[in-house]
């Protein structure tokens, strides 16, 4: 699937494909292919260097973008999924379990988006219900009890706005997570991998380090939602995306995130392997760093981090 601003990429890739198909019979096209490939690289780089906020939103939401299952499969050995909030249910919109990252045993937790329609229906398009946030908290507390760092992977358009979710206390579940994560006595490392949708993202997003993929976004409200409230016109989402400052560079400047994990030109959906390498490198660095700190210092720094925001 190509995004609308990826037209030039699509055209070049089509051309290269066509030529490659006849390369056997016409070896002379080889040099043309090579020059097209160079062109492709450059055009991809130049498009992705200049993404507007709204284009970034589209990349962050790309259906082929890696999901938590991809991160689990690529970054971890020995993943053991744990279910349930011990109160009401097991929410497939949040996936969590024990995982081994290189030399570290950790608890990995993240929003679960699907890649197929059925998959997405099962995991509610990554929109968690209160039992999802409560499962996440249970697993975090389990991790803290046994001195395992927590890694969270954030990718949601928001907490599910459904009647049942409201009735079971979406607000309370998120609020409790914010409070408990702020004092959880173990390192918490958060990575915004795709959409960081408001309270639904923050509900597993309070930690010692907040990393963010280059084309991820993180916002208090969706650009569409903001546009329809402030511009009274949902189609002004691009303007809202611009105004809301939701891209990784903007958030780094605002000190809401600590580091940008660069994506290969063309984005994580086009180059998952390269993305995994970058994420791996970032996790390695920050985990080692956080593990070297006393819990007391960790918690004080975590507190200070949030105390300073908006001052």
């Amino acid at each position: 699937m190509y995004l609308d601003f990826e037209k030039p990429i699509e055209e070049l890739e089509n051309k290269i494909r066509d030529l490659s198909a006849i390369r056997e019979s016409k070896p002379e096209v080889q040099s043309e292919i090579e020059s097209l490939q160079k062109q492709l690289q450059e055009i991809t780089r130049s498009i992705y260097e200049r993404l507007t906020p709204w284009q970034t939103v589209q990349v962050a939401r790309h259906p082929e973008r890696p999901t938590i299952r991809d991160y689990i499969a690529n970054l971890f050995t020995d993943f053991l999924e744990c279910c349930g909030d011990r109160a009401f249910g097991d929410d497939p919109a949040i996936c969590g379990g024990f995982a081994t990252f290189e030399k570290f045993r950790v608890m990995a937790i993240g929003h679960q988006k699907g890649k197929t329609v059925e998959d997405n229906i099962r995991c509610n398009f990554g929109m968690a219900r209160p039992e999802g946030y409560r499962k996440a908290l249970r697993l975090m507390q389990l991790a803290a009890k046994f001195h395992l760092p927590v890694l969270t992977f954030i990718d949601t358009s928001g907490a599910f706005p459904g009647q049942d979710a409201e009735e079971r206390g979406q607000a309370e579940a998120i609020a409790r997570n914010l409070r408990e994560m702020s004092r959880l006595p173990t390192p918490i490392l958060c990575v915004v991998t795709g959409e960081g949708g408001s309270g639904g993202a923050l509900g597993i997003g309070v930690g010692d380090r907040i990393l963010m993929l280059g084309n991820a976004v993180y916002s208090v409200i969706s650009p569409e939602g903001c546009a329809s409230i402030l511009w009274r016109d949902g189609s002004k989402a691009p303007e809202a995306a611009e105004a809301l400052k939701i891209t990784a560079p903007a958030l780094l400047k605002l000190k809401v995130i600590d580091e940008i994990i660069p994506e290969p030109p063309g984005g994580a959906h086009r180059h998952p392997e390269g993305t995994m390498i970058a994420v791996r490198k970032a996790l390695r660095k920050h985990l080692a760093d956080l593990k070297g700190m006393s819990i007391k210092k960790l918690l004080n720094k975590r507190y200070e981090k949030y105390a300073k925001l908006g001052r």
Binding site: Q170, A175, V220, L230
Partner: protein
């Protein structure tokens, strides 16, 4: 106009007050209300019991013992980290207008005072100030109030009235949820009482942070309490929601509020509750 002319004006034959000065109508049942009495009853409709919104000042006057209130951080005001603009203009301008209109500098007034002779720290939100939205100034004031309560081991009351996070401040307003909750975590660990009073409306990022984190969560009758907006939910589930959805009573019955307390009993009930939370000597 000098003092003299003022004086003269006052001496003018007194005209009877206009109907508008004397009467108002209930925004719920539309019944005619004798304004003076309605205000004396803290804006609770004597006909249908509807609890009209109170300003932060009115709320403080209602709850706090006379002359006991001392405000904190009155100078903290709106900041504009994003230099936000929409098609109607800039956030900075809008904030100035709101300040002029309300006489407030932020959507919350914080301070200390006494409730039925118990010393408490208060943070009282005002819906008139940009819909009681949680901006960085709001968050900072509440954060400081919590830290004051922590330092002085004084119980805390937060009165919420808010549509949620203030989107003009983007992600920074979202982070106020984490910031205030982190301060409450310390208060909780220190074993200091915190009562959250949710008034109409308490939704979005405010309900999903400090408003739901009280040792006791109490609300006024009929107050709208929820996370997502009714319209968004109806669009999502493609179904009409029941009328009583997200009312205080409904939320209580679903397990998230300890009690729903009519405004006229609030001060007394808060005093009694704080006495329990302090295990005060029985008089």
């Amino acid at each position: 106009m000098g003092w003299f002319s003022w004086k003269k004006k006052e001496k003018k034959p007194v005209e009877p007050p206009s109907a508008e000065e004397l009467w108002t109508s209930c925004s719920a049942c539309k019944g005619m209300l004798f304004k003076e009495e309605w205000i004396k009853a803290w804006k609770v409709c004597p006909i249908c019991g509807f609890h009209e919104k109170l300003t932060a000042r009115e709320r403080i006057n209602q709850l706090v013992d006379q002359k006991s209130f001392h405000e904190f951080d009155a100078r903290i005001t709106v900041s504009d980290p994003l230099k936000f603009k929409d098609d109607k203009g800039s956030y900075a301008e809008k904030a100035e207008q709101t300040k002029d209109k309300t006489g407030l500098k932020e959507a919350v007034i914080t301070g200390r005072g006494k409730i039925t002779d118990i010393r408490v720290v208060l943070a009282v939100m005002d819906f008139n100030f940009l819909g009681g939205s949680l901006g960085s100034g709001t968050g900072e004031k509440i954060f400081r109030a919590i830290e004051y309560a922590l330092r002085h081991r004084m119980p805390l009351l937060i009165v919420s009235a808010s549509g949620g996070a203030r989107m003009h401040e983007g992600i920074i307003s979202l982070m106020q949820m984490a910031k205030t909750s982190a301060a409450l975590a310390r208060l909780h660990e220190a074993g200091i009482p915190y009562i959250s009073l949710l008034t109409n409306p308490t939704t979005g990022g405010v309900s999903a942070s400090y408003a739901m984190l009280g040792d006791l969560n109490i609300a006024e009758p009929g107050a709208l309490v929820g996370f997502a907006g009714r319209r968004v939910i109806e669009q999502t589930i493609k179904q009409k929601l029941p009328d009583e959805f997200q009312t205080a009573e409904y939320v209580r019955d679903h397990g998230f509020l300890d009690m729903v307390v009519p405004r006229k009993e609030l001060r007394d009930t808060l005093g009694r509750l704080f006495r329990y939370l302090q295990n005060a000597k029985v008089e």
